[in-house]
Amino acid sequence: MKTNESCVISPENQSVQIRHLEDIQSRPSCLRGKGVTKIFGTGGKQTVAVDHVDFDFHEGELVSIVGESGSGKTTLSKMLLGLLNVTEGEIFYQGKLRDISTAKKKREYWKGIQAIFQDPFSSFNVFNKIDTVLLDCINMCGGRHFSKEKKIELMTEACCFVNLKYAELTNKYPFELSGGQMQRLMIARVFLLKPKILLADEPTSMIDACSRATILDMLLHLRDETGMTILFITHDIGLSYYISDDVYIMEHGKFVEHGTADEVILAPKADYTKRLISDVPKIYEPWDLSTVKY
């Protein structure tokens, strides 16, 4: 394979220097929300899933949104993606009010924002070969007229980025891969699309603790390589501490705390944050089980 030699970037072989951003506040805003609310149901049976949240994600930032299940973080992510309608409030995309009223405008918006979902096993259409997934991405960002060689080169590059071998993947179906490999392929997809924002909705919760580190490092690497904003949604506060610059803590549809990772995790102010941190098993300090109240 002549194209295989183009593997230069690979988080596994080459140590990734984690570079946490220091100049967040001075960067331009990428996605901003004001009073964003989602209410499900009508009449007497209303459920407020997301309750007047304000946020401001800067360009090139890696932000975590942490909350337990039912806190509304997935609903928020669907609204940010434009897959769910916003009941109330405004979302600004690159400084301008987001307009996704028509299918065409939506398609335009989706060129700037992409997602990786929680369950890798349901993220793929099991009837399509892996090539189809990647070819789709090339076609979507204007590569429809590229020559076949050029397309293969692009796909090989993307696979290399996530440390997969294109030659081994071609003509395979997604179910022949492991969960970790599938999730890496999802990152390869994002690498090809190069959106402004990547929304990673619990990308590591369904895969092994051992493959988790790989995915996290790849996300960091992706940010460093392309400068995209990554929203990392998770229930594991440990992961958010490792990976992110900024952390938002969400409880019952509201942000209860927001700050840099060090501020929020090492010196939490909100009770909810304190509880979340104390609930996670530790290894350097003793994990206090006596605080458990049934």
């Binding site: 993606l81 924002i113 997602a115 349901s122 259409n125």
Partner: protein, 416 residues
């Protein structure tokens, strides 16, 4: 795909169902080649000829004969004359004549006849016997004597010009003809029906028509159900409300009643097999629509559909490539069941006399209808309806087996 097919054919249930169905289909193709002609042609006068081989009596007279001397030929001949009822009556006569019959076996023709010849006297008037009964015994005695006698039968021909009878042939008791030499022999494996039609030929043709009706009904029902289910499930909201409104209405109205009403309102001349099939299809899409809709709703929120939307694919493309393949196996199974229920629905309708018009083609339901109208079940002509019931049972059994087999392959919770 290849792997899936392999798995499907590894399922014993599917395989058995498939074999039964294929043999029925093969029968439908091969039998008309062996026995061509219009299945509705009335070949016999009178109703319900029994199954068997029919030899032309006229032709066998002129056919070359061979002489065969077979032991017990006489006994067999008498056996045929002497019915079980006659034998019991003979016993009755002995008893009435106060003759000891202990140890007499009425199936032992020789002893019975010997005893009869020794004891029967037409002049004896037994007490309490009616005149009719006496005459019956005399007739029985004559018959027995005639069968046992060594007479030669003479066949005469009436000369058309003179009107005289001319002796044509003499038939000895030991004369035999080879069936192969007789010009006209007809085997009717299932006899004839009430109109004198070859039942087997009719059955094979009816089977084809019924399966066609099932296929058309199944296709129509699956198509409508799939379309409404996909639209309602994927689009949701207002479209879903409308789809569910119609689906609910059709669920509440018993579909068979609806079917009867629609069939009734179409006049007899308009009701061809295809019309009936479409009507059946129109009344049985409800469950397909409901289950397709619920599956699509759960698929709609799957991540791969969301990703497909994020990739900017059009509605049609998402439905065709991201949703339809996932429910395809289910739809195929529903389709198989629809075929089976279409065939049954036609049979039920026809049994009520609301089936396709009777002059065109036979269907399984029509055959049962005819058998019922001409009381085949009362006069013991089982061949007119029993094979039909068996065929319907086999068709739906094989289709259901195939469906269960497919279910085991495609439904992971049922896998062993």
């Amino acid at each position: 795909m290849k792997n899936t097919l392999k798995q499907v054919f590894h399922s014993p249930k599917f395989l058995v169902g498939f074999c039964i169905f294929t043999s029925i289909l093969l029968m439908m193709i091969i039998y008309p080649l062996v026995n061509p002609g219009n299945p509705l042609e009335m070949i016999g006068l009178g109703t319900f000829a029994e199954p068997g081989t029919y030899v032309s009596l006229y032709d066998s007279v002129g056919t070359k004969t061979s002489t065969l001397k077979l032991d017990g030929a006489d006994v067999k001949r008498i056996d045929q004359v002497l019915s079980g009822e006659d034998r019991v009556n003979m016993l009755n006569w002995f008893t009435a004549d106060s003759i000891d019959i202990s140890g007499l076996d009425i199936t032992d023709t020789d002893t019975l006849l010997a005893m009869w010849k020794a004891n029967f006297d037409p002049s004896i008037r037994l007490q309490g016997m009616t005149k009719a009964m006496r005459n019956y015994y005399i007739r029985l005695n004559d018959n027995i004597n005639a069968a046992a006698s060594a007479d030669i039968l003479t066949v005469s021909e009436i000369d058309a010009s003179t009107g005289e009878t001319v002796e044509k042939a003499e038939i000895n008791k030991t004369d035999y003809v080879n069936v192969g030499d007789v010009a006209n022999v007809k085997t009717l494996p299932l006899g004839t029906d009430n109109f004198g039609r070859d039942t087997l030929k009719e059955l094979v043709s009816a089977c084809g028509t019924s399966i066609r009706i099932g296929l058309i009904a199944g296709t129509v029902a699956t198509f409508i159900g799939l379309l409404l289910g996909l639209l309602g499930g994927y689009l949701g909201g207002f479209v879903d409300d409308i789809v569910m409104f119609f689906t609910n209405i059709f669920t509440v109205i018993p579909s068979f009643v609806l079917l009867i009403l629609i069939s009734y309102s179409i006049s007899q001349d308009q009701r061809g097999a295809n019309t009936i099939a479409i009507v059946i299809g129109f009344t049985s899409w409800v469950w397909t629509a409901r289950s397709v809709r619920s599956q699509v709703i759960s698929l709609r929120n799957r991540d791969h559909v969301n990703l497909s939307r994020l990739s900017g694919h059009s509605l049609m493309r998402i439905i065709l490539t991201d949703i339809l393949p996932y429910i395809a196996s289910y739809v195929v199974m529903a389709f198989i069941l629809q075929i089976s229920s279409g065939i049954l629905a036609e049979a039920q309708l026809s049994l009520l006399g609301l089936g396709p018009k009777t002059t065109d083609v036979p269907t399984l339901g029509l055959m049962m209808n005819w058998a019922m109208l001409y009381s085949a079940h009362l006069n013991g002509s089982w061949w007119a309806y029993f094979p039909v019931i068996l065929t319907i049972a086999f068709i739906s059994f094989s289709l259901n087996l195939m469906n269960t087999g497919l279910d085991q392959v495609f439904n992971p919770t049922l896998r062993d």
